[in-house]
């Protein structure tokens, strides 16, 4: 028997009205503007853009405000909005070698051309709470140096000149798109990278950490980490030529990993690659480590049975919107499902009792 249950509209409306009031908080405290969130919580904005898979800082800031700072809820809002947008086209692959770098460091080469540029980093801070921020005030003026005019070359290209690192072969293949076709396994590397770049930062971080702790051990050096802006170029069909349709901030990480060589390849370094919207270096490094771990088969390495080597495990659990959707649905009404479970357990108990009773009677 199926019993449809109606009702709850009034309770739902009232709950949402209260939610709006709680979102606003104490009326004696000034309301946050979307522009304030965009400018002053920019790393939260970056995370929402990366995992929401849509580069638009104003929208991401709005989503954070609406979600009361719940990042996954904000990402959910962006994903939902994204589906309403018509797609005008796809860009030419961004040229990260031409990036205007705010930050560019290498853990492998001290004296790389372009140098070690720290940028606005948390590194080397003492992680002590700065109570000066409690008081409102202006930041002190920032030192300036002499601007580098020429592009900063990729560090792995120096290794490549000696043939010491695996070459990334260019191709003009149209990459598969997870947002258009359901993910099928085995996935190729372009699909894996799409899943990782929009994957949950915490999940990708933990997977990467597991490889460092020995599950699919792959000792990685950060060959290069760079953060900065790149132009996005797209072919405009009605014009017959490409223009730059915008500019986005990206974080790119290339790791350099040992590789013993195989029957066809001499010993050389291999790469893991991370590229993420915004200033998101923890995510970009994590992505590069997981990318490298997932390449075991292509590189002829052993499958050690480690979670980070398991493409199905990683790709099917990296998306926090899929995960939270399935996880959170169990709190919604399951009255009918549970009714059948209840009847089943009563029936099993009745049968179990009937089976034990005759034994007791015989004993008596």
């Amino acid at each position: 028997m199926y019993v449809a249950v109606k009702g709850g509209e009034r309770a739902i409306d009232n709950a949402h009205a209260w939610l709006a009031e709680e979102r606003r908080g104490d009326l004696n405290v000034a309301e946050l503007s979307v522009a304030q969130i965009r400018e002053q919580l920019s790393l939260a904005v970056n995370r929402v853009m990366a995992e929401g898979s849509l580069y638009d800082p104003d929208l991401a800031a709005l989503a954070i405000k609406q979600a009361r700072g719940d990042m996954i809820e904000a990402i959910f809002l962006i994903r939902a909005y994204r589906t309403t947008l018509p797609r005008f086209g796809a860009s030419a692959p961004v040229e990260t070698a031409d990036m205007a770098c705010d930050r560019r460091i290498s853990a492998t080469f001290k004296d790389a051309p372009g140098g070690q540029v720290l940028g606005p980093t948390f590194d080397y801070t003492h992680r002590l709470l700065d109570f000066a921020l409690v008081a409102e005030g202006e930041a002190s003026a920032v030192e300036r140096g002499e601007a580098r005019a020429e592009p900063t070359p990729h560090i792995t290209e120096f290794l490549n000149k000696e043939g010491l690192i695996q070459t990334e072969v260019d191709s003009e293949d149209v990459p598969g798109d997870l947002t258009r076709e359901p993910l099928e396994l085995p996935a190729n590397r372009p699909l894996r990278l799409q899943a990782l770049t929009r994957g949950d930062e915490g999940f990708v971080l933990s997977m990467a950490y597991s490889t460092q702790r020995g599950y699919a051990r792959n000792h990685a050096f950060v060959g290069e980490l760079r953060i900065g802006k790149v132009p996005v170029e797209m072919e405009i069909p009605e014009l017959g030529f490409a223009i730059e349709v915008g500019e986005i901030e990206l974080t790119e990480c290339e790791t350099v990993n040992q590789f013993q060589g195989s029957k066809t390849e001499p010993p050389q370094f291999t790469r893991g690659y991370g590229l993420v919207f915004g200033q998101s270096e923890r995510k970009a490094i994590s992505m590069a480590l997981v990318d490298r771990a997932l390449r075991w088969e292509e590189l002829g390495e052993d499958n050690l049975g480690a979670p980070a080597q398991d493409e199905e495990f990683v790709l099917y659990h990296s998306d926090n919107i899929q995960a939270t959707g399935f996880l959170e649905h169990i709190k919604l009404p399951h009255y009918v499902d549970f009714q059948s479970e209840l009847e089943l357990i009563r029936k099993l108990r009745r049968e179990a009792m009937e089976n034990t009773m005759p034994v007791q009677e015989a004993a008596e």
């Binding site: 853009m49 990366a50 898979s53 849509l54 580069y55 929208l59 994204r82 947008l85 018509p86 797609r87 005008f88 086209g89 796809a90 860009s91 990260t96 705010d102 930050r103 004296d111 070690q116 540029v117 720290l118 940028g119 606005p120 920032v142 300036r144 140096g145 601007a147 580098r148 005019a149 990729h154 792995t156 290209e157 990334e168 260019d170 293949d173 990459p175 598969g176 798109d177 997870l178 372009p190 699909l191 990278l193 799409q194 770049t197 996005v232 797209m234 405009i236 009605e238 030529f241 223009i243 730059e244 349709v245 915008g246 500019e247 986005i248 990206l250 290339e254 690659y273 590229l275 919207f277």
Partner: protein, 147 residues
Amino acid sequence: MTAESNRRAWMSLLAKAPADRLNALWHAYGAAPKFHWLRAPEIGASMVRGRLGGTGAPFNLGEMTLTRCALQLESGEVGHGYVQGRDKQKAEIAALVDALMQGPEAAAVKAAVLEPLSAEMAEVKTARAEKAAATKVDFFTMVRGED
């Protein structure tokens, strides 16, 4: 520079321009040419691609918002606006500038809108590069021992 590469350059500049500055410069220029829409402003997205390892095969990184429109001036020039973000007015101004840049007003529009915009954007970019340069590490070697 060919006509096409000139047009690519100004359209690219308009696409990346801060909407408030483009708006202010356009209104200061004060033109209000009559036009009709070929395509009313429309918000959409472009799938941004990256390359494996920065140099290899392409992959889909995620989308970015875009607004586009097309219009025709009474004098006949067709202007296209393709701009970053979701600002329909910015797309309209970009299309108007694109159309005017193909007609007799080109030099005036260039001087009043494009050149100041380009200079301001270059200044912002240079300021960031200068701040980045100040965070470049100068390594020095500690000499130990007497000789």
